[in-house]
Symmetry: C2
Subunit: 108 residues, 2 copies
């Protein structure tokens, strides 16, 4: 078991993704960002639903329709499959730690 706040880098050149659980059709990841936006170009367009929670720092998610959601510590957001979105801001001076739960869009 790794602690979600253990071994965090001091500086981060690229987003750091650590898979915490992968079982059946569920995947739980810790994602650490620092000033990163993602993806580099365009939008995420995912086959799975994603539920995301900010554990440290903060970030802003933008949807294709222009909606922007600012998330601070303890804020969470459900992103349906194929809901095109991107991370347009994360805190530049401190690490942002996201918990992301990916789950199937339809019953197996």
């Amino acid at each position: 078991m790794i602690n979600l706040f253990a071994n965090l880098p001091e500086q981060l050149d690229a987003e750091l993704v650590t898979t915490l659980l992968r079982q059946d059709r569920l995947r739980i990841e810790r994602i650490v960002s620092q000033g990163h936006t993602a993806p580099a170009e365009g939008w995420y367009d995912q086959a799975e639903h994603e539920w995301v929670l900010v554990l440290q720092g903060g970030g802003t998610v933008e949807f294709e329709d222009g909606d922007r959601v600012q998330l601070g510590v303890g804020d969470h957001l459900n992103i349906p499959a194929h809901s095109r979105h991107r991370v347009v801001w994360t805190h530049p001076d401190k690490l942002t730690v996201w918990l992301a739960v990916f789950y199937p869009a339809e019953p197996a």
Copy 2:
């Protein structure tokens, strides 16, 4: 969207369970404890898998085989379906906030 750390009670007579997401066969809950053990008698014996993360405070989970796992902030644990377990300790003086992800034990 409720913030996971918003509107926490100052004192807690019984565990407080808030469903954050329920979709298809996934359920995400915030569970707040203060000195509570659970269940009141016997063991949890769940049909679903459960992945749990401590967001605040701390607690100890005991399994039927005698194993005990102490969890502090950022620690997480996967509890397979029908793995009989109980919470034998949570901090008596401060609130413990758990994030619990329940997911199906077998493909649908």
